[in-house]
């Protein structure tokens, strides 16, 4: 299996843990990731603030690049990038004028001709690679770890083929396969407010707090997630959340790839587990 890898802007310095653990784990599983050359920002939630066609054309440039570089599938770990690229690929496939607008906005020589499939690494592991295969390679099961999976918003919404939009279970299935005890809680697919982190940090703090409190009350010892923006909110903004809720949380928040890495026997440092804001020393 060989995929184009679109890390997205957040996986640079800010959420490097995800990039490190993602590459390490996929290498360990034998899945080839080739970073897309010259990829551009997907636009996050601002892609269309100045030009409405930016909604699909800004992420769409990356699809054209993937095609030009000989790939059929792009995987991207960030939920927002995933949502943007996947929705762009769907819009362009369904709508001839969208494809034309995209191609018109691209540089000379670059053109999107066909359809590029966009997948999230979680569902690549679940559907294409297979849980059974992963389970075989687990050397350090997360025995008894109480893991609350946090899906956030854009991993499962808008509605797609991979998981429920209201009660997703993909990450939970993975955690179960790694030996963890799955903690279910009603905020697992509710918004962290990450989009407003700069302009209205108080809102982010409140929403993030609601998620963490619900996970904690349900008995979670660690929160696993799949989006760097959610991680920034739940990890970096945990202090602000504690302040907003007037309550201590002390909840380690890690990426599902890091937990997967640990279960596969990889080193903490290699997975970036010492880079979080909230201490992950209990995650071992």
């Amino acid at each position: 299996m060989r995929y184009a890898y679109y890390p997205g802007c957040s996986l640079g310095k800010g959420e490097q843990e995800y990039d490190l653990s993602m590459r390490a784990v996929f290498a360990k599983l034998g899945i080839e990731l080739v970073e897309l050359e010259d990829w551009n920002c997907c636009g996050a939630v601002h892609s269309d603030i100045n030009n409405p066609s930016g909604a699909y054309a800004m992420p769409g440039r990356n699809l054209a690049l993937a095609e030009a570089q000989g790939f059929e599938t792009v995987i991207t770990p960030c939920s927002a990038c995933y949502k943007n690229l996947r929705q762009a690929s769907k819009t362009i496939a369904a709508n001839k004028s969208a494809r034309q607008t995209l191609n018109a906005s691209l540089a000379e020589g670059l053109e999107l001709k066909g359809n590029i499939t966009v997948l999230h690494p979680l569902y690549v592991l679940l559907n294409e690679y297979g849980l059974a295969r992963i389970k075989e390679q687990v050397t350090h099961p997360l025995a008894g770890w109480k893991v609350a999976s946090y899906y956030g918003c854009m991993l499962t919404r808008p509605k797609d083929d991979f998981d429920s939009t209201e009660r997703p279970r993909g990450m939970d299935d993975l955690m179960r396969a790694l030996g963890a005890e799955v903690i279910d809680y009603h905020m697992k697919a509710k918004c962290c407010g990450g989009a407003l982190a700069l302009s209205h940090a108080g809102v982010t703090a409140q929403l993030t707090g609601n998620v963490l409190v619900a996970a904690k009350d349900a008995g979670a010892e660690v929160v696993s997630l799949a989006c760097p923006m959610c991680h920034m909110a739940l990890d970096a903004y945990q202090g602000k959340a504690e302040h907003a809720l007037q309550q201590s949380l002390a909840m380690p928040v890690v990426f599902f790839t890091q937990l997967l890495g640990l279960a596969l026997g990889l080193e903490r440092k290699a997975l970036g587990l010492d880079r979080h804001i909230v201490s992950t020393s209990s995650v071992r």
């Binding site: 429920s164 939009t165 209201e166 009660r167 009603h186």
Partner: protein
Amino acid sequence: MDDKTNENEPRIGVYVCHCGSNIASVVTPAEVVEYAKDLPGVVISKEHRYMCSDPGQTLIQKDIADYKLDRIVVAACSVAMHEPTFQACIAEAGLNPFMFQMANIREHASWVHSHEKEAATQKAKDIVAGAVAKVTYVTPLQRFEVPVTKRALVIGGGIAGISAALDLADMEVETYMIEKTPTIGGRMAQLDKTFPTMDCSICIEAPKMVDVGKNKHIHLIAYAEVKEVNGYIGNFKVKIERKPRYVLLDRCTGCGLCVEVCPISVPNEFEEGLGPRKAIYVPMAQAVPSIYTIDRDACIECFKCVEACGQLQAIDFAEQSEIIELDVGTIIVATGLDMWDPTEIEEYGFGVYDNVTTMMEIERLHCAGGPTVGEFERPSDRKVPKTLGLIQCVGSRDKRYNEYCSGFCCMYTIKNAMLLKWLYPEMDITIFRIDIRTPGKTYEEFYERAREAGIHFVQGRPAEIREDPVTKNLIVRSDNVNLGRSAEYEFEMVGLSTAAIPSAGSTDLGRVLTVPNDTHGWFLESHPKLKPIDTPTEGIYLAGAAQGPKDIPQSVGQGSGAAGRAARVLSHETWEIDPIVAYVDPERCINATGGKCDLCYRACPYGAVDCRPGSGKATYIVPAKCHGCGTCVAECPQNAITQYHFTDGQILAQMHALLAEKPEEKVLAFTCRWCSGMGADNAGVSHFEYPANTRNLLVMCAGRVDADFVMEAFRLGAGAVLVSGCHPQDCHYIDGRNNAEKRIVRLFGQLEKIGISPNRFRLESVSATEGAKWSRIMRDLSEVVTGMGPEAIKTENETARPHLTKRLQRMAETPGVAEVLHLSESARLAGLKTETEQAMNIAVAQGVQGGQA
């Protein structure tokens, strides 16, 4: 003018109406009369102030006798207006009514070209020429008769089917009722009380059920399904499969000893899974027939039941399913509805949270005959809930699931709330809704009573439900629209008012019956307002929720209505079939020589085509099932299919006449008889003017328009061509417009390739009320033609002509067409007449014998 009576030459009479001043003030009738005199075949040409009046009609009849006319053209108003009038008129005078053609010079000329009198008169001449050309080639047609079997079939034993069957029985019609489940009764039997009267449902239904079981004119076959239906109105051949109960009908007395000893319990479907039944069971106490059934999937074959049955020996594990064949004259479809499963609407937690239930489950829980003997207990702890939340429109009015409103659920939720308030006055009940719909008699008053009883009504559709893990209570989060803010409401139990969906298997049954289902799966009625009981398949009628969600009085009413529609047919010895049907020439059909073509079969929405690709047998079309759209005629790549009264030859003759003079200045518009034709008429009635360089050619359906016709029009030099039909969802023949689209869309690219500017050819949909749209389209196309100018158009046509001629080779060689194209001697015409009459007789014979040619 020719008064020789050569029986092989047409003798056409042309009559130009003034219609008072409606026509005469714009078109000059005298000019048209003069012009018509010189048209080939015209013997007499006259005018009259009011053709449709008695004197006008008498004039025609007298001329038929005096001049031995055999074909008549009346140039007047629309076919929709007076075609039947003149057909009856000439029939009285001894002519076959199909030897007639209407030329619309009012709605299509005088009323829309009042500012171009000369051009309007020229157009009127062309229209008459077209009519004369077509009528030259028409043949006499007989409405043929088929015998009627005086027996009725009712599929479905719910309240609608029961109503229909009892009415038919009262008319002494031998009626067969088929029911899929082991007992009749349907949804109504599951209800506790019925709104708005609050009478006990089974109490009012059971007597009718018993009636059906005992009635000497009704044969009830329960636990059976319809597998195959062949034939047509008056003559349906139905194959029914009766599933084995493993309990013999003629021996079981319903004593129930077997149930007592059966060790297996499974959820009872009748109780929505809330209560048990044994592997050997009757679904409910009042079952009709009161015979047990063994569910072999649950049964462990311990045979204790056999032992208990003892001497009666009513249990037979070796029983096989039985195929029953019936001949019936009419079929009534009364298959009812199911309730939608709300598991999909994940935000409500049905199937995840114990205390989230459906309204039908609630129905069973408070019913004295239900699984908890009328104690309304919530699932998690079997306690009576103190607070209850009911949510409307779950899965209804929802584009993600079922777009429609299910109609009865507002009332039935209010009913459940009222019942519970009576039983448990302290219970706090809230109904969450978007609207409240109370359309029936005393329904609004019922709603008033509910409010008086203290039931809360919150306007707002809940966003999500979550559960308190300890108490198992539900927390419903909803926008309270009236208060303008969101809130959370806690309830011990929640009920979801789910959508009604068509009974499982409706689409499959639709295929078996060749009755179409609409996009949601409900059976499709012929006309939503004027024919809500008929289906496009003659002789098959709809009753009850099978046609669309409805309540009990509506179902009963429609059941009786269906019985009436069926009786219409069954009270006759024979039934007349309209002859404008399609016919396959067995010598030209490619399947006759081992071909594997089924294009006509696929195009027909009525299942009128019996097609055996690869069998060596030619395809044939059952006349009684054919509705005369002509789509198959246009689809056939061998040009093997003809449509009586709209043959290729007749249409082409009309087209040639219309485009004879200065075709490059004209717009030729094919319109369907229904929406577009009436839309064009509507433009006339409303006097929406448009230029006079436009010519209409009427066919029954846009589906009839062969790609060849369009190409021939351009080959003849037309300036622009339009094909216009109903809007696809309104097509009078269901799929005709869609088929036209698929076929004609290909032409766009092809024509452009051979040099015809794309704006010279259009495909449109115009409804009967869209006169303004029609007028606008005509204006647009007319401007395209005048804008380009005759020279430019001629040049494009010249370039295209050789390509078109080549492609039209096959059409040119088709019998019936060749004559027209070469304007042959009338001697050939006589031969043609005999051929088609013979063909008609063969078709009828084939149809009656059920397809063995």
